[in-house]
């Protein structure tokens, strides 16, 4: 009898478990970021903020894990069919916020829309089509073997095709992507994600509520309501956390790390980031930069460790290449070189012992401490007799200058959208070509066709070990050639109240998986 009773109670408890799970999602989270999503249309702009929104309100086919592996989300499994094709199996029974059920039709709709999006179409260029097999099976087909197929698939957040099809009252297509002005998708949203947008005042606050029919019932997440307030001012954001006004902030400015570490009510999480900060040396503008010895001299004259320690307060990882640790091209043997005597020696060998004068430009509100870093670099170059005429600009004015290559040395920070080394090379060191868009941000006008060919070869190599070897070689050659001046990878930092367990949901891409957040 007792046994029977236990079994009965046990089965009751089991039956009640999923109920209890959803009923438990009643915690409220107030968070402050430095910006709010510019739109609710996840295909309108490719940016960190938009991806954060995508992960909250939609769900990708698969997503990155903490160690840069993949984890299935809406796609249950995938397998390679041939060199150019990957077959995906879609999870069944997934509901959109509108109540519609997710099928391959929605994935197809999303894929076609991505191909239309001005911001995303470049990423999806290698894909020739998405072939629907049945309601829950589809194939991604590339025109050539493509090693980054899965990386790119993390950008597919299926949208509710029924919801986004048709016309609005004023005759606008609901699926239209508009960069400026309003569109249906920029104000209405239906995804499969853990949160539904329940209120939004642009620039003031966004409110989210947990989606009752969220498919992932295994998720430990227990936050029922999220209020996001954009707070741009660093000091104010930190004060809001310290005073208990918000539970979770990002990013944490380097100057306040100590203050938060000391605070007994707060937790700080930091990670080495993947955004490289570097300087280009323009060979078209300065004759001397054509000489590899001069470029090497500059590389030797700049103290990356010093900048990371003093200006960035230890909140940066000194770099000698573009690929951060974990990327396929990361080459462990490359370390920052700093040797003023060697630098002076190289200048002498190149015949520039007396030095020369150059212009330099950097933004002053884009990257962490960007203007201070530029000043430090200018001072370091003075030691090898290169006189620097430095100008720093707000980012809105900086980028037009950058596009015009308006100074001899220019600063840029870059994060690879594909989380892959080749992306760095394609944009920053490829021989500039206006037609193909190669080297679009190569303000050094550095050009080495051999290296470009090697990267292109790596881009169709699906054997990842072979590919990694090629990309590592590229890093090595760029390093030997001193094609650019790497400075550091910007670190990432988040902070929360002690009862908000952010550590497990954070990652190096900086899109927290808030659906899985546990608040005690």
């Amino acid at each position: 009898m007792k046994k029977l009773l236990t079994a009965f109670v046990g089965s009751m408890a089991l039956a009640a478990a999923p109920m209890a799970m959803s009923a438990e999602a009643n915690k409220e989270l107030k968070m402050a970021y430095d910006a709010d999503p510019v739109t609710l249309d996840i295909h309108e702009q490719l940016s960190g903020g938009m991806l954060q929104l995508s992960h909250m309100t939609f769900d990708p086919l698969l997503r990155w894990t903490k160690d840069l592996g993949f984890e299935p989300r809406l796609a249950e499994s995938w397998e390679r069919v041939d060199e150019n094709t990957m077959r995906f199996k879609l999870r069944e029974g997934v509901k959109f916020h509108s109540g519609n059920e997710l099928t391959t039709k929605d994935v197809k709709f999303t894929f076609d829309r991505l191909k239309q999006s001005q911001d995303f179409k470049a990423i999806f260029k290698p894909f020739s089509e998405l072939k629907v097999v049945d309601d829950y099976t589809f194939e991604l087909v590339t025109s050539e073997p493509y090693p980054l197929l899965l990386n790119t698939a993390t950008y597919i957040f299926p949208m509710d095709s029924e919801f986004y099809t048709g016309e609005t009252e004023n005759g606008q297509s609901k699926s239209a992507i508009t960069k400026h002005g309003n569109s249906f998708a920029s104000e209405n949203l239906s995804g499969t994600g853990p949160y539904v947008v329940t209120g939004r005042q642009q620039g003031v606050r966004v409110e989210f509520e947990r989606f009752d029919d969220y498919w992932d019932t295994e998720s430990p997440g227990n936050v029922g309501k999220i209020v996001l307030t954009p707070i741009k001012e660093n000091n104010t954001r930190v004060s809001a956390l310290l005073s208990g006004g918000v539970d979770f902030i990002a990013p944490v400015p380097p100057t306040d790390l100590e203050r938060i570490r000391r605070d007994k009510n707060s937790d700080l999480v930091t990670m080495s980031g993947t955004r490289i900060i570097l300087f280009h040396m323009n060979q078209d503008r300065v004759e001397a930069f054509k000489d590899p010895k001069v470029r090497q001299a500059i590389a030797y004259a700049i103290n990356q460790e010093g900048i990371a320690a003093k200006i960035m307060k230890g909140f940066a990882t000194p770099a000698a290449q573009m690929s951060p640790d974990g990327y396929q091209g990361h080459n462990e043997s490359l370390t920052p070189r700093f040797d003023v005597a060697k630098a002076q020696q190289l200048m002498k060998e190149a015949g520039y012992e007396d030095g020369f004068t150059i212009t330099m430009m950097a933004p002053n509100n884009r990257y962490v401490n960007d203007d201070k870093i530029a000043q430090a670099v200018a001072a370091m170059l003075a030691r090898i007799n290169i006189k620097v005429d430095l100008k720093t600009l707000p980012k809105a004015q900086y980028w037009p200058e950058y596009d015009a290559r308006a100074a001899d040395m220019m600063m840029i920070g870059w994060h690879a959208d594909t989380e892959d080394s080749a992306n760095f090379f394609e944009f920053l060191t490829f021989c500039p070509d206006a037609d193909t868009g190669a080297g679009q941000y190569n303000a050094g006008n550095y050009c080495n066709p051999e290296i470009d060919a090697l990267v292109n070869k790596a881009n169709v190599e699906t054997d990842l070990d072979k590919r990694a070897a090629m990309l590592k070689e590229v890093e090595q050659r760029l390093y030997d050639d001193a094609a650019f001046v790497p400075l550091h990878w910007q670190d990432l930092a988040w902070a929360s109240k002690k009862n908000v367990k952010i550590e497990p949901i954070l990652n190096v891409m900086n899109f927290p998986y808030l659906g899985d957040l546990v608040v005690e």
């Binding site: 104010t236 004060s239 006004g245």
Partner: protein
């Protein structure tokens, strides 16, 4: 009176025109609005296409004429960032700023008049000297610093443990110097009361008022000392004048002399200065709103600049220009009411 208004309205139109031309002329220096709208990896071709679509490639004169034509029909353009008509965006943000200004003005009014009058009547009292000293300090501290200190003291709280905690006096001193914190440090809070249209007010709930305290005090901190000193100086001058002496000689009570006869004449210049200061306050709201993430027009304007949201910048400047013209007109009218000998149009009557 009518002539005065006509003159003011034509002035306003001229001001609007000049502002719009200047705002348009400097837009090239404001940077590329497209940079905020597209991802880094978008190709040059795509950018050009969007630029064409937005009319950014047209000559500036064409752009201006297009803008001016729409503006005459009450359409000041569409904000790039908000995707809405700029006037709507400004009207949405205006209540927050107005409430902040009202809050600060109340603080200024409530404190400056009694303190200023007191300091004028009893210039030698230690309390007067204390107030004057504090106001000198107040004038010289930048508003954002005041704001940061206020946040540290009253939102985060400060725990002082410089004195030995085991002795009675040490404990008392530590306690006296420590602050609790707890006041909200950002934004307007959740309990706003809808008034009309897009106006949600913070004046009718405890939460709303608590959120108003620190920003209002910060904003008032810059003007309050100024008004105290102004009222004191004017009042002292008035107290020296013949009619006050005569009133004293007549044996009127000093309360009647000070608060009825003297104060009335003191307030005249204060009103004029006050009107101008309201305009200046608009500028200070930008700083205050930035520090407190106060969702008003000041913060909106600053962010519009960092985003190169040119239509919004132009519209904001024009609205602020209009507010200046209106406040100055109202001040002149009030001045005329308080002192009927003043002729508004400046013509001989």
């Amino acid at each position: 009176m009518l002539a005065f208004l006509v003159q003011r309205i034509s002035q306003a139109v001229l001001v609007m025109f000049v502002i719009s031309v200047i705002a348009f002329a400097i837009q090239d220096g404001l940077g590329d609005p497209l940079q905020q709208m597209v991802g880094m990896s978008v190709s040059q071709e795509e950018r050009e296409a969007i630029r064409d679509e937005m009319g950014l490639n047209d000559p500036l004169v064409v752009q201006y004429l297009h803008f001016a034509g729409n503006a005459l029909q009450g359409d000041l353009g569409t904000s790039y960032f908000y995707g809405k008509p700029t006037l709507d965006v400004i009207l949405e943000h205006l209540p927050a700023t107005l409430e902040l200004v009202i809050g600060a003005s109340l603080i200024i009014l409530v404190f400056s008049v009694p303190i200023g009058v007191y300091a004028a009547i009893r210039p030698q009292a230690w309390l007067s000297k204390f107030f004057m000293g504090v106001s000198t300090v107040g004038i010289s501290i930048p508003v954002f610093l005041t704001a940061i200190v206020l946040i540290q003291l009253f939102s985060i709280g400060v725990t002082v443990d410089w004195f030995p905690d085991d002795s009675g006096w040490g404990q008392w001193l530590n306690g006296a110097l420590s602050t609790q914190g707890g006041l909200p440090s950002y934004g307007r809070g959740d309990d706003l009361t809808p008034l009309f249209g897009t106006w949600n007010s913070g004046f009718f709930s405890q939460g709303g008022i608590l959120h108003l305290i620190l920003p209002s005090v910060s904003l008032a901190s810059i003007m309050l000392p100024l008004f105290i000193r102004l009222i004191r100086a004017e009042m002292m001058e008035v107290l020296q004048s013949d009619y006050i002496r005569y009133a004293r000689a007549k044996g009127l009570s000093s309360a009647r002399i000070n608060f009825l006869h003297a104060l009335k004449n003191t307030m005249l210049p204060v009103i004029t200065v006050g009107g101008v200061q309201i305009g200046i306050m608009v500028a200070y709201t930008i700083l205050t709103e930035t520090v407190f993430q106060w969702p008003g027009v000041g913060l909106m304007f600053l962010e519009a600049i960092t985003r190169s949201d040119i239509p919004l910048i132009v519209a904001y400047l024009m609205v602020v220009g209009l507010i200046f013209v209106i406040t100055n007109t109202v001040v002149d009218l009030i001045y005329g009411l308080v002192n009927p000998t003043v002729k508004l149009t400046g013509k001989k009557a």
